[in-house]
Symmetry: C2
Subunit: 275 residues, 2 copies
C-alpha cells in the first residue's frame, strides 16, 4: 500500500506522499509516488499515485506524452497545452485508460484488480488552482471548499486529524504540519506505509515551487512532530477525566440511562433470549 494526501487551500496546495511499495510483507521496496510538472510562469502540476505500481509507473510514463484527440481542427490536448486543470486531468484519465487497454485483460486473467488512484492538482495560468482525484476507470472528481483534501492508499488512520483541522482558510504551513501528523498516525499503525516522504507546498499564483523536500528518518522537523505529537496526545488524553461509574456524582456522569435504549441484558442460561 501507500499513503498520499493532497490539500487545496485558499493560499495554495499541499502534497505529501510516502514511498513504500509492497508485494506481500516480504517484498517491501521504496518507490516514490510524487511527480512534479513545472513550466515556470505557465503551469505547475503535481501527481500523487497509489495502487498497483506497474500501473502507476505506466501512467506516469504515458502522461507526459499523452495526446487526447480534439478533432481535425485542433491540436491534440496534452498536459503541456491544456488551458485548464480540468483538461489536464482529462489527459491523465486518458493515460489511465491507455494503460487499461494495454494491461487490463492480462491483469484480470491473472486475478489482479486494475487498481490505481491518483491525486492530481496544480494551476495553469489564467485559472485558479484545482485538485482532482482520478480513479482506475479514468473518471475523476474535484476538491471543493467543503471537501478540500483527497487521500489515496491507506487513508483511514490519518483521516480524523484532517477532518478536524482542515478548512480552505487553513494556512499552508499549518496544513503541511497537519498532513505530516496524519502521515505519522498512519506510519505508526500500518507497516505498508513507510519513509522517506515527499512534501511539496505550492503558493497560489506562483506557477513554480521550490518548497519540495524529501523527509527521511533523520529530518529534524518530522522527528519533532513524531515525538511531540505522540507525547502531547498522551498528555491531553491523561488530562481528560476518567469515566466514573457511580452515577450522578461526577461532573460528566457516564452511567446515565439512555432515553431509548436499555443497557444490554445478560444471558445467564442457555434458553434465555435478549429480544
Amino acid at each position: 500500500m501507500t499513503y498520499c494526501v493532497g490539500i487545496r487551500l485558499d493560499a495554495g496546495l499541499v502534497f505529501l506522499s510516502d514511498s513504500r511499495t509492497n508485494a506481500g510483507l516480504d517484498a517491501i521496496s521504496t518507490f516514490r509516488k510524487m511527480m512534479i510538472y513545472e513550466r515556470a510562469d505557465d503551469r505547475f502540476m503535481v501527481m500523487l499515485s497509489a495502487g498497483n505500481l506497474s500501473i502507476s509507473q505506466s501512467v506516469r510514463e504515458i502522461l507526459q506524452v499523452e495526446k487526447v484527440d480534439r478533432g481535425p481542427h485542433e491540436e491534440p490536448l496534452t498536459i503541456w497545452n491544456a488551458t485548464s486543470m480540468f483538461d489536464a486531468t482529462r489527459v491523465l484519465g486518458s493515460a489511465v485508460r491507455r494503460v487499461y487497454e494495454q494491461d487490463g485483460a492480462s491483469l484480470r486473467a491473472a486475478g489482479i484488480d486494475f487498481n490505481s488512484s491518483m491525486i492530481f492538482g496544480g494551476q495553469i495560468k489564467g485559472e485558479a488552482m484545482r485538485m482532482f482525484l482520478v480513479y482506475s476507470a479514468g473518471n475523476f472528481i474535484e476538491a471543493t471548499r467543503e471537501t478540500c483534501f483527497f487521500q489515496v492508499g491507506e487513508s483511514k488512520y490519518g483521516k480524523p486529524i484532517l477532518d478536524r483541522v482542515l478548512t480552505p482558510a487553513t494556512p499552508l504551513d499549518e496544513a503541511a504540519k497537519c498532513a505530516l501528523v496524519s502521515m505519522d498516525s498512519t506510519l505508526k499503525s500500518n507497516l505498508s506505509v513507510g519513509l522517506p516522504l515527499d512534501l511539496l507546498i505550492y503558493r497560489e499564483g506562483e506557477f513554480r515551487s521550490d518548497r519540495v523536500v524529501c523527509v527521511d528518518e533523520h529530518n529534524p522537523y518530522f522527528r519533532m512532530i513524531r515525538s511531540t505529537w505522540g507525547q502531547r496526545l498522551k498528555e491531553v488524553f491523561e488530562d481528560i477525566e476518567d469515566p466514573r461509574w457511580d452515577g450522578g456524582q461526577a461532573e460528566h456522569p457516564l452511567m446515565t440511562p439512555s432515553d431509548r435504549f436499555e443497557p444490554m441484558r445478560k444471558i445467564a442460561h442457555p434458553s434465555e433470549r435478549i429480544v
Copy 2:
C-alpha cells in the same frame, strides 16, 4: 459496517461496540453488537461481533446452545460447562462453522462473502481472564501482553490512539476512556459507525459486572469526550511549531537534505525523465 474494540488489561477487560448496521447507505439500522453471558461467581463472557448481520445473529442464537462433541465418555462441551475460555472459544468457533454449513453455499451463490468476526473475552473460575479474536472460518487468536487489544469492523480510524496509549498496566477506567476516544475518531470519519454505544468493564476475578452502560447522544461523559478531545487535539496541534522552509534557522528545520534521497526532480517538458 460497525466498530468494536476489546481490551485485556491486568486489571480487567473493556468492551465497546457501536450499533450501526447498513445494507448500503440508504438502509441504515440500529442493531447492538454486544452479548453478555454471566453466571455469577462462575463465568463471565462477552462477545462483540462485526460483519454480515445475519451471520452474527445466527452465531449468537447458536452459541448459547452449541455443543461440541468430546467423545462417548464426556459431556459435550458448551460455553456453560467449558473450564477454560479457550474451550468456550472453541464452542464459538463451532457455532460459526455451523452457520457456515447452513448458509455458506447460498451466500456464495448470491455473491456474498461469508464475512463475520468476533471478539470474545471473559473469565471462567479457575483461570485468568482471556480474550480471543474469532474469524469467519471459526479459527481464532488470543490477545497477549504485547497485543492487548482487538478491533473488529471499521478499525483503522481509531487504531492510532489505542496503539499510543494501551499497555497491560493501563487502568480500567483509562482504557475505557481510550476506547471511547478511539470510537469518537471513528464516528467522526465514518458514517457506517453510529450511536448508541455499549460499554462494559469487567474487573479481574469478579465473575460478574454491573458496569454496563448504553451510551447515546445525550450521555454527559461521551459528550464531554467528544467536545474536549476534538478541541484539545486542535490546541495541541496549533501548539506544535509550523514547518519552516528557510533551512537551518529553525529549531527543527524541515529543509534538510536526506543522506540517501534527493528531493523529487521536476519534469519541465514531455521528453524529460526522472530516472
